[in-house]
């Protein structure tokens, strides 16, 4: 498993790098060597300002939220196929989970949603990515399944605090609280 660096730009560009070639290039470049730049392994565009990023290292997914009120999940093909256990390929979701092709999973939030400053994956019991969880700038939390067809669910009521400067980006994170106390 290698460390990656994902950047999201205002024009929608999403570029992912391996950090090891980056570091090598920096350090060998400081020594005066010419190092070919081959750290990029994903160059995509989400067609609007990209904000939220989420990386799922176990399921090999990169999710990007854009100002189209849409979450784009890049599911690149895997050499050894899916890491996830999948059932017989009877639905599109199962076929997508085979991971033998590059897929781009799109989840478009309904009109009621706003821009999405942050996103996060929701795992199943095995630690695989199961759902995508988005928060919009008014504080609504939306949850959508990545594989099985189903509606986008609205979780929370909005809690927009009064702000004289408008609603700022509301960030959120998701975690499994496994620390016993």
């Amino acid at each position: 498993m290698e460390e990656i660096l994902v950047t999201a730009a205002d024009n929608g560009d999403v570029v992912a790098f391996y950090t090891k070639p980056l570091a090598e290039r920096v350090h060998r470049g400081l020594a005066g060597e010419e190092v070919p730049f081959s750290a990029r392994f994903l160059v995509e565009n989400v067609y609007s300002s990209a904000w939220g990023l989420a990386i799922h290292s176990m399921s090999r997914l990169i999710a990007v939220s854009s100002n189209l009120h849409r979450v784009t999940v890049f599911a690149p093909a895997l050499i050894n196929g899916s890491l996830q256990p999948y059932m017989a390929a009877t639905t599109m979701g199962h076929l997508t989970q085979k991971r033998d092709r590059n897929w781009r999973i799109l989840v478009t939030l309904p009109d009621a949603a706003g821009n999405i400053p942050n996103i996060s994956f929701v795992n199943d019991h095995f630690g695989n990515a199961r759902k995508i969880c988005c928060v919009d700038i008014s504080g609504d939390v939306w949850i959508a399944d990545l594989w099985d067809p189903g509606p986008v669910l609205l979780f929370s009521s909005r809690f927009a605090p009064p702000s004289p400067f408008g609603a700022g980006p509301f960030r959120f994170d998701l975690f499994l609280a496994n620390h016993s106390n």
């Binding site: 929608g12 560009d13 090891k20 090598e24 350090h27 160059v43 995509e44 565009n45 067609y47 189209l68 390929a89 009877t90 639905t91 599109m92 979701g93 076929l95 997508t96 085979k98 033998d100 092709r101 897929w103 781009r104 799109l106 989840v107 478009t108 939030l109 309904p110 942050n118 929701v122 795992n123 928060v135 504080g139 949850i143 959508a144 399944d145 990545l146 099985d148 067809p149 189903g150 509606p151 986008v152 669910l153 609205l154 979780f155 929370s156 809690f159 605090p161 700022g168 509301f170 960030r171 959120f172 994170d173 998701l174 975690f175 499994l176 609280a177 496994n178 620390h179 016993s180 106390n181």
Partner: protein, 462 residues
């Protein structure tokens, strides 16, 4: 053998016909149709329409390619602004042997430009055109003001073992399999055509899955060959999904979210932090002014930075079971998510947030080490064992005890660095390194600490 015409508008495309005898007219609107590709027996339901049977295996044969230079030169002749539908039908019926040619790519005149150049016709990257195996099959006559002569591409045969779905393609009982099969096929053909036209395989031509619709699409970006192309809407997949605000006690909610275990969501606002329990639907709000607003209550004098009052930096450190939340106002708060070892009988107060520290530490604040500038970024990374020699070595080993370094990066390039590790009984040890490199504990001046439960405002200190 049936036929289909794949019409690619700027971003949209669809299939206009399935059989050679029933070719429907192409759209004659002012929309510039940039490319027309003919794909035999293309099923409609690739694009989410009615499902039909899978097509038999294609046996592609040699197809010749028109010299692109000549076509472009011919396209400089004045042409009509709309595309006659009859021409398309003619091409579809005359120009090709349905058994041998698979994809044809046409370059119609742009309505807005009677004298298109290569770059106008093909996009800004047209100079990179590189076509192999080009042979002339005839130049269009200057009087031909209809569609230009087609490019025809030699289509490579699909490798036999290329598509695992195709191998067992005889079994088309599963509808999803059929959709996938055709989607793969169309994508492959399209990619091959792009490869012949532009010399590269476009990464932007991909398969799209929309789980909230349960449908697969094929994506084609404008310009197609560069993901850095101008941003444009994906009109073909502009969809409006269904959504449902569901009560958290409803069976739907439990069915949807019961599988996620005890997952909590942390939502941060401008000054406060909410924790939602996805399973129980309980929410709490961590907005005690002494604790949560403390990171965002740091005073920043320069007026242009007053909009920075937001808790917009979050770093999750699973090895330490730590969440670092930073405000652009200059402080970070270190949280430990907790839960009871055993569920309480009434499931109340099951999840907690413990505030471990607020940084910069009290001593740093007193020493004015925090600049009067916004916090621009936080970074948390493992502290690695120093290499034996002074040389740089990638991939150093972690220290024996998981230790992470938290760096606060301010606008004036001030960087405050703290080292974090779990101490005895799950407590958080915070230390800094002085100029000589020696660790110095900061446990004594970490500010306020407290424990908040997920379900209510009740919390305990300690």
């Amino acid at each position: 053998m049936g036929w289909g015409i794949l019409v690619l508008h700027d971003m949209d495309f669809g299939i206009d016909a399935q059989s050679q005898s029933a070719i429907e007219p192409l759209p004659t609107s002012q929309t510039p149709v940039t490319r027309v590709a003919m794909v035999p027996d293309m099923p409609r339901h690739v694009f989410g329409q009615t499902p039909i049977q899978a097509s038999p295996n294609m046996e592609p044969a040699d197809v010749q390619v028109l010299d692109l230079e000549e076509v472009t030169a011919a396209s400089a002749t004045p042409t009509t602004t709309t595309m006659p539908t009859t021409t398309t039908a003619t091409i579809a019926t005359e120009g090709f042997d349905p058994d041998s040619s698979l994809v044809v790519d046409l370059l119609p005149p742009r309505p807005h430009s009677p004298h298109p150049t290569i770059s106008e016709a093909l996009g800004p990257d047209a100079e990179q055109l590189h076509i192999t195996n080009v042979s002339k099959i005839g130049a269009p006559t200057p009087t031909d003001n209809s569609l230009l002569a087609p490019h025809r591409f030699e289509i490579d045969a699909l490798p036999a073992g290329d598509d695992p779905v195709r191998r067992d393609g005889n079994d088309t009982s599963a509808e999803g399999e059929t959709i996938f099969w055709h989607a793969i096929e169309a994508k492959h053909w399209k990619a091959v055509a792009w490869h012949h036209l532009y010399g590269i395989l476009p990464t932007s031509v991909g398969l799209i899955y929309t789980p909230h619709l349960g449908m697969a699409h094929i994506q084609c970006a404008r310009g197609g060959h560069s993901p850095f192309a101008a941003a444009s809407n994906l009109s073909s997949i502009q969809v409006y999904p269904t959504y449902a605000p569901v009560k958290r006690t409803s069976p739907v909610w439990i069915r949807e979210h019961g599988q996620m275990g005890q997952t909590c969501i942390l939502v941060t606002g401008s000054t406060d932090i909410h924790m939602h329990n996805l399973t129980t639907g309980c929410s709490s709000r961590l907005d005690d002014p002494a604790l949560c607003q403390r990171p965002s209550s740091a005073v920043i004098t320069p007026y242009p930075f007053r909009h920075c009052r937001r808790l917009n930096m979050i770093a999750h450190v699973p090895p330490l079971n730590l969440v670092v939340i930073g405000s652009m106002y200059g402080r970070v708060i270190l949280l430990t998510p907790l839960r009871r070892a055993e569920p309480a009988p009434n499931q109340k107060y099951y999840h907690y947030i413990r505030v471990d520290a607020v940084l910069p530490s009290e001593s740093d604040e007193r020493a004015n080490r925090r600049p009067n500038q916004p916090l621009f970024g936080i970074a948390v990374g493992p502290v690695q064992r120093p290499p034996p020699s002074g040389s740089f070595k990638l991939g150093g080993k972690m220290a024996d005890q998981p230790t992470y370094r938290l760096m606060l990066h301010y606008r004036d390039f001030t960087i405050l660095s703290y080292e974090l590790r779990r101490g005895l009984r799950g407590g958080l040890d915070i230390s800094t390194r002085d100029r000589s490199g020696e660790l110095r504990s900061r446990n004594g001046d970490r500010g306020f600490v407290g424990i908040y439960s997920c379900e209510g405002a009740e919390y305990g200190v300690g």
